[in-house]
């Protein structure tokens, strides 16, 4: 359909007295449940362009010049924090890192007051990781800065899910119709939750696999109560749940392994890590059940020898380092999305 070109843009009343360039309603990125399929498509398309920028000799574009990004991390992180910082710097934003330890948080400052302080410093975007589910949603209700969720409790990790989608699409040219198996600690995994939204919206055929003690009860129960019979209209209606890893892996296009934390054993979810490894670990032998061109993914950090065999983790099918590289491009696309109006 032909469209207008070069129409003069409508000038909006500036909201931010600092530079007038902040969108009237900040675009928070909290989870993929409020993204439409088209919006995910735009992020993935913009990610490709950002990846081109990463391949240039001069890895710097002026897009976010004059914008301030504050990363507020209440939990340990290497790749997420560093990739947000790198993404912001390549886009010419000023990036300030704040962590829970060493800041006023240790003096007992509330999350709310910390965020107001950062907003008062004219942060355009606050990238936040917090051990409690819902903390970024809470902040987004009060702040004019755009809030990007970099992982909250056991709830969501949308930037990880988007980089996973991008990695899958980069290899297969599509996501729709692929059999994606997510294996591991589903009960506590925010990566799995956000991926579930992203993958189902993009039309993947998702299978979840874990010991029964690590499957959320509403999912286990869901099989019997009609959520999963395909007729309920529930967004996860087509998702399959498997407790046997061999049946789950059969004919898989993508195997996504999740980190298993040793705390799970202490909490009584598992008899021993060794038993988990024997029953659910992704080994070269088990990978033979998947399709020959299947990809192995892991959000990191890995416990090699527990949820994933080192031979698989560093084998030809693993794209774990690619995921990290794509993470920078995806986060560039999301920082761009946070300061531009919605396009779809």
């Amino acid at each position: 359909m032909p469209t207008t070109t070069r129409r003069r843009p409508v000038r909006q009343a500036p909201l931010s007295p600092a530079n007038g360039a902040r969108p009237a309603t900040p675009r928070h990125i909290l989870d993929l449940d409020d993204f439409t399929q088209e919006e995910i498509e735009v992020v993935l398309q913009n990610t490709e362009v950002m990846r081109e920028v990463l391949q240039r000799d001069i890895k710097k574009v002026p897009t976010l010049r004059g914008k301030t990004i504050i990363t507020l991390f209440y939990e340990a992180s290497t790749r997420t924090r560093v990739s947000f910082e790198q993404a912001g710097k390549i886009l010419s934003a000023d990036v300030i890192n704040v962590s829970g330890s060493g800041s006023s948080v240790e003096k007992g400052e509330s999350l709310y007051n910390t965020a107001l302080t950062l907003q008062a410093m004219n942060a355009d975007i606050i990238v936040m990781r917090h051990p409690h589910s819902g903390a970024p949603h809470f902040l987004s209700r009060f702040l004019n800065s755009a809030v990007i969720n970099a992982g909250d409790g056991t709830h969501a990790h949308p930037t990880q899910a988007l980089l996973d989608l991008f990695t899958i699409r980069d290899h297969f040219g599509k996501v729709e119709g692929l059999k994606v198996v997510i294996v591991g600690d589903l009960l506590y995994s925010r990566v799995a939750r956000s991926n579930l939204w992203g993958l189902t919206k993009m039309g993947a055929d998702v299978t979840l696999c874990a010991p029964p003690t690590l499957i959320p009860s509403d999912f286990l129960g869901g099989i019997g109560n009609g959520i999963h019979d395909g007729t309920s209209g529930h967004p996860f209606a087509g998702v399959k749940v498997e407790t046997n890893v061999e049946s789950a892996l059969t004919d898989a296009d993508v195997v996504m392994t999740l980190r298993l934390q040793s705390e799970r054993q202490e909490a009584g979810h598992l008899p021993t890590l060794r038993e988990y490894s024997r029953m659910y670990g992704i080994t070269p032998r088990r990978m033979q059940l998947a399709k020959p061109e299947a990809l192995v993914m892991h959000p990191g950090p890995m416990n090699e020898g527990i949820e994933i065999d080192p031979e698989v983790a560093h084998g030809a099918q693993a794209v774990i380092e690619e995921q990290v590289t794509h993470g920078v491009a995806v986060r560039m696309a999301l920082l761009y999305a946070a300061v531009t109006p919605r396009t779809v």
Binding site: M1, P2, T3, T4, T5, R6, R7, R8, P9, V10, R11, Q12, G20, A21, R22, P23, V42, Q45, N46, E48, V49, M50, E52, V53, R56, I58, K60, V61, P62, T63, L91, R169, G173, Y336, A337, V339, T340, P341, R342, T343
Partner: protein, 193 residues
């Protein structure tokens, strides 16, 4: 994997409720204008040595490809064609969200004469952004500008070197370029809201 046929979301207000559209140039006139521009590029630069045509996404890319095809027809040589998206260099990103598109300049620009190609020249801000973008790929020997339509109302000291058609407009009007590669028809239309 980018979809280059994505609509140019420059019409951020959405489709106008009432608008009149008047065709000002047809397919033959567009072809003649591009033939002339191709000849002018050859004449002014004494051939095509060290020339690279860089089209600005999206219709500028198709125009650049057409000019390259004419030059090939006239001189029997292939001029490299690049594509440039200025989305990351715009000064109005908070107001215009549009999907970003590929930037690919296989020949590079260092030491070359770059002819930027765009469909409609208006405020000049897109060209300003395009020149900034080019500099991130190297130091061109020279940058020239070809535009199918010049509709006036410049806000920056930028002038085109090659113009298909000067179209006097008011700011309330908009100019639409339709190209058969994307729109199924070659036509330039003036819209009044």
């Amino acid at each position: 994997m980018l979809d280059n046929s994505l609509p140019d979301s420059a019409n951020i207000g959405g489709a106008p409720a009432i608008s009149t559209e008047r065709s000002i140039l047809g397919a033959d006139e567009i072809r003649r204008a591009l033939v002339r521009i191709s000849h002018e590029i050859l004449e002014r630069n004494g051939g095509v040595e060290d020339i690279v045509l860089v089209g600005i996404q999206t219709r500028g890319v198709w125009l650049a490809k057409r000019i390259a095809a004419f030059i090939r027809q006239f001189e029997g040589v292939d001029v490299p064609v690049g594509e440039l998206d200025v989305g990351l260099y715009r000064d109005d990103i908070a107001e215009r969200g549009r999907p970003l598109m590929h930037t690919r300049i296989p020949s590079g620009v260092h030491g070359l004469c770059v002819v930027l190609v765009d469909d409609v020249l208006y405020t000049g801000r897109t060209i300003r952004a395009a020149m900034d973008a080019l500099n991130d790929f190297g130091r061109p020997r020279e940058i020239q500008l070809a535009s199918l339509v010049d509709r006036g109302h410049r806000e920056l000291p930028i002038r085109p070197d090659y113009v298909g058609k000067n179209v006097p407009t008011s700011r309330e009007e908009s100019v639409q370029v339709y190209m058969s590669e994307i729109d199924g028809i070659d036509q330039i239309a003036l819209m009044r809201e």
